[in-house]
């Protein structure tokens, strides 16, 4: 009890709509109102971002104050009397929404975000039937940037709330998007107004996740995928990433944190995909390849004293992260693991190994992936991602796009039976599932590497390596002492393996800056471009916030715990592919199909 007192913040008493409330000092009027379940409308406000106070939709009336303060930006003060729904407030809010609509290209039925647009729902709430003001859209010169493979930016639908700008700067440290010009010409733009594909944009899609309107959306490949499905000459193979199965439900009206693996497989089969496989398979394969790469780098560094070995080694499964490091730290590309991401390993194997086994002609196979990610769309289109002789992954769909396809097909998702992935490249382990959350790749790698080196299971209860389980908004360091190793790994005896886990590119930047300056003595770094890892990816259902992401994370760990196999090297399909096709980790075939190289890029 005594210690508690230091934690208790000063309490501020105020009255909102006649209700007395007492909240912690430093909270805003908006937060206080939410505690009372009073809904004050917002647009530019987002839980993940710093307060902007730009849109002014959330204004409230404060007694004895002449103007109407923005509730999101105004801290509570003692004795404040607030009215959230007075006549003054209602008129001002209506004016503001009408003003936003007057400069917004409101052809809702043609908009990708129709039905999932915050401005639209605010407009319908306020009954903005007849246009109060002049239509400003025809007088403005708007640009639509659709030259990118992953993200479309349509300025005519932008309401200048700057959520995207704040996301890009605060969460991702990228600042590809910024504000340009002033007054009536003010817009969200890029460096010298270049199209997105020419600037430092990593295609992470975090801006898409937070855009309240249809100004930033993913480039969708729904029609192309339907065409492939309907084409009788094509065999369409689909792979699904670990983080999709715990979020897809949200896109179809279910609450966050529901595991829908079986229903998702059933839905994909009903949609008409010929084969439904699991990216988890190549996640396990990534662990084998990447784990051996790490061990080989360590051996060359510690035993051969080879000065050309680059440590620490960083993961390479997050394509947003790859593009980021190519732009921001091109001199550190040697630190990246040469392993392709699971999606691209999968694509390369579908058109080689899988075709061989199933006696299919690769030219008739269409490889589709469902990803929680927009950067994967860019990745699939990289010129080097054609090691099968064809484009390894033809189309990348986000979780949201799959949700739309399921709705288009008229499936009642919740009532679908649970089905299983097809075989050959469909089995997975708990280690692969946790790729979907920050710290997961690290945990999966340690589960395998430790066992390879010592011949024993990692000494953590239930194989849960909690010290590396990353937390959002935090860089997590952990170390693991390796003891009593097998004879062939004698050089690792007593070595303390130092790892660090970071999510969100702003955090990645800090870690890599330390590496660049030689301040970091890590061996292995896991980086995921998005907050919380793939479960918070740019292709996941909208809305997103910390609470939703936490629920998704719990679901991922639940799925891991529920798997019969928890370690990548125990995956039977992985064992089979090494026996029948690849030979050995880091072998000739692996290098040909599963490893890649990177391209230094400029900041501008």
């Amino acid at each position: 009890m005594k210690n508690d007192q230091t934690d208790i913040k000063n309490q501020i008493n105020l009255t909102i709509d006649g209700i007395q409330v007492s909240v912690d000092e430093g909270k805003t009027i908006l937060e206080a109102a939410r505690e009372l379940n009073i809904h004050v409308p917002t647009l530019c406000y987002h839980e993940d971002l710093c307060v902007a106070g730009n849109c002014r939709v959330c204004v409230v009336e404060q007694e004895k104050v002449k103007s109407l303060p923005a509730s999101c930006a105004t801290p509570v003060s003692e004795g404040m009397v607030i009215h959230t729904n007075s006549m003054k407030v209602r008129l001002a809010r209506k004016h503001i929404v009408e003003l936003l609509l007057s400069e917004h290209h409101a052809d809702c039925t043609k908009c990708y975000k129709n039905g999932n647009c915050e401005l639209q729902s605010l407009a319908s709430q306020m009954l903005t039937g007849d246009h109060m003001f002049l239509d400003l859209v025809p007088d403005q010169k708007y640009t639509i940037d659709m030259f990118n493979t992953a993200i479309i930016k349509d300025d005519s639908r932008c309401i200048r709330c700057q959520r995207c700008v704040r996301t890009c700067e605060e969460l991702q440290g990228v600042s590809a998007l910024g504000v340009a010009y002033r007054g009536n010409r003010m817009k969200i733009s890029t460096f010298f107004e270049h199209p997105l594909f020419e600037v430092v944009c990593t295609n992470c899609g975090q801006c898409v996740n937070r855009c309240p309107t249809g100004a930033l959306i993913e480039k969708n490949y729904i029609d192309q995928v339907w065409d492939a499905i309907y084409d009788p000459t094509k065999h369409v193979v689909v792979q699904t990433a670990p983080a999709v199965r715990i979020a897809l439900g949200e896109a179809l009206g279910m609450p966050p944190g529901k595991i829908v693996t079986g229903k998702m497989v059933a839905a994909l089969k009903r949609l008409g995909f010929n084969t439904v496989l699991d990216t988890d398979f190549t996640a396990d394969l990534t662990i084998i390849e990447e784990g051996h790469e790490l061990l080989s780098r360590l051996k060359r560094a510690l035993v051969d004293k080879d000065p050309s070995v680059v440590l620490p080694m960083t993961t390479s499964c997050s394509p947003g992260w790859i593009k980021f490091i190519e732009h921001t730290f091109p001199e550190l590309l040697g630190n990246l693991s040469s392993c392709k991401s699971p999606q691209q390993m999968f694509g390369a194997l579908v058109k080689t190994y899988y075709c061989q086994k199933r006696k299919l002609d690769a030219k008739n196979v269409v490889s589709v992936s469902v990803m929680p990610c927009t950067a994967k769309k860019f990745e699939a289109n990289r010129p080097e991602m054609r090691s099968s002789g064809y484009k390894d992954v033809d189309f990348v769909l986000t979780t949201r796009e799959l949700g739309i396809m399921i709705k288009q097909a008229g499936l009642d998702f919740e009532s679908l039976p649970e089905e299983h992935f097809d075989s050959l490249m469909g089995s997975s382990t708990g280690a692969a599932v946790i790729f979907g959350t920050t710290g997961g790749v690290m945990e999966a790698a340690i589960r395998t590497v430790y066992e390879v080196v010592t011949g024993r299971e990692i000494p953590f209860e239930g194989l849960n390596i909690t010290p590396v389980r990353g937390t959002e908004g935090e860089v997590r360091e952990a170390s693991l002492k390796i003891e009593k190793v097998k004879p062939e790994w004698k050089f690792l005896e007593g070595v303390e393996l130092k790892c660090v886990v970071a999510n969100g590119l702003a955090h990645a930047k800090k870690v890599m800056q330390d590496v660049k300056e030689g301040k970091a003595n890590y061996h292995f770094i896991e980086i995921m471009a998005c907050p919380g890892g793939c479960l918070g990816g740019g292709g996941q259902p909208i809305p997103t916030n910390k609470d939703i992401r936490t629920k998704r994370k719990l679901a991922i760990y639940e799925e891991d715990m529920g798997m019969a196999l928890r370690k990548s090297h125990e995956n039977p399909d992985v064992q089979l592919i090494y026996k029948d096709f690849l030979g050995q980790p880091l072998g000739h075939k692996s290098h040909e199909l599963l490893h890649t190289h990177y391209t230094p890029r400029k900041r501008y």
Partner: protein, 388 residues
């Protein structure tokens, strides 16, 4: 009509004392409490236009425990029709420096900046020379308060204090949310006093003459004198230092061309006073306040064009971040245009009046909030000119 002329005052532009920086040197020997008491007694209010009591601003900043504080002189004189700061900085820059140094002593700041309007770049060579003289003198009397000049880049919005800080920090010049106010969170997030050029000169004159002498000028709510920038339809445009609290009628008698139909007091963001209200209008904080701009219009002027011009200015100079200001300014300008052309009925003006009121209530900073001043006063008083 032939009453005595308005009293001309010579506080601001008066000659320097014969000993260089005499007042500054002497004031440095006084205690902070004494200086603050003098300022409070004088009733000095900020000369930028908003009229916040200077003594209170300084006191709040002085009370903040932060070891790092700043004094900033706002010389981003951007209000249309205002050109008095330019004159002050040209003619009596030492008084400005002295006022800033006194402020630095009172609040415990280590450094002062003058944020100079980008278009005033031509003042730099002379100003730098004077500043070297000041910095030298400061050193000689053991005063550790260097002053630097920071050049703006031509945005009107950067005259708004928090946008000015952002601009100085190298950011986009956009106003911040308030609270927190500059007294606790200003330049670089540190407590900062930011005052208009003229305010600092006034401080320095209060130190020289004493609060009692200063108080003899002006009225209860508007103490002292003010430098006015007189422009428009007047035979004698220019800079005039006059006592505050004068009736507008006497001002027009003296400066008008005999056919004055309206005076825009306080620039584009100020109020338009029509002829019939000259008699009852007092220039000062109890009546119509001004940062110094007085624009006279005679009957040859179309008030529609005047308003359209102001709105064009705001439309372009809004930073664009908040909805009411960015879109509101466009709607107001295009709205009066539509009424004039007959595309909208005259009733639409009432709609626009309500919109301007919403802008006053909800805009993030003073720019958007004060568009309603000129809009509603012009539309209300010259409605027929808006329609026909």
């Amino acid at each position: 009509m032939s009453e005595a002329k308005l009293k001309r005052v010579d506080l601001i532009f008066g000659e320097y004392s014969n000993v260089k920086y005499k007042v500054l040197t002497e004031t440095m020997k006084r205690s902070n409490d004494e200086i603050l008491a003098d300022l409070l007694e004088s009733g000095l209010r900020g000369r930028g236009g908003a009229g916040f009591p200077t003594a209170i601003k300084w006191k709040l900043t002085a009370e903040s425990p932060s070891p790092e504080k700043y004094v900033i002189c706002n010389a981003d004189e951007g209000e249309p029709g205002t050109f008095k700061d330019r004159e002050i900085l040209t003619r009596v820059p030492r008084k400005v420096f002295s006022g800033m140094a006194i402020c630095g002593k009172v609040i415990g700041a280590q450094r002062g900046y003058i944020y100079l309007r980008g278009e005033y770049r031509f003042l730099l060579p002379e100003l730098m020379k004077e500043l070297d003289g000041y910095n030298e003198h400061a050193k000689s009397i053991g005063l550790d308060f260097p002053i630097e000049i920071c050049l703006g880049s031509g945005a009107y919005i950067c005259g708004e204090e928090s946008a000015l800080f952002e601009s100085m920090e190298g950011m986009r010049g956009e106003p911040r949310n308030k609270p927190p106010y500059p007294t606790s969170f200003g330049y670089m997030g540190k407590p900062t006093v930011i005052n208009n050029v003229e305010t600092f000169v006034n401080v320095m004159m209060i130190m020289r003459l004493g609060a009692i002498q200063f108080k003899l000028l002006g009225t209860r709510d508007s103490r002292g004198s003010k430098v006015f920038s007189v422009s428009g339809d007047t035979p004698i445009p220019g800079i005039y230092e006059l006592e505050l609290g004068m009736p507008l009628e006497r001002f027009v008698d003296e400066f008008g061309d005999g056919d004055t139909k309206a005076v825009q007091v306080g620039g584009a963001s100020g109020f338009c006073v029509p002829r019939k209200k000259f008699k009852d209008t007092v220039i000062g904080f109890e009546g119509v306040p001004t940062g110094g701009s007085m624009m006279l219009f005679n009957s040859s002027r179309s008030m529609y064009h005047v308003l359209h011009n102001y709105l064009e200015f705001f439309e372009e100079e809004s930073c664009g971040q908040c909805t009411p200001c960015r879109v509101g300014c466009q709607q107001l300008r295009k709205g009066i245009q539509a009424v004039k052309k007959g595309d909208k009925q005259s009733l639409y003006l009432d709609q626009l009046m309500k919109l301007s009121e919403s802008m006053r209530l909800t805009a993030k900073c003073g720019l958007g909030q004060s568009v309603a001043n000129s809009f509603s006063s012009i539309v209300y008083n010259f409605k027929e000119e808006m329609i026909y």
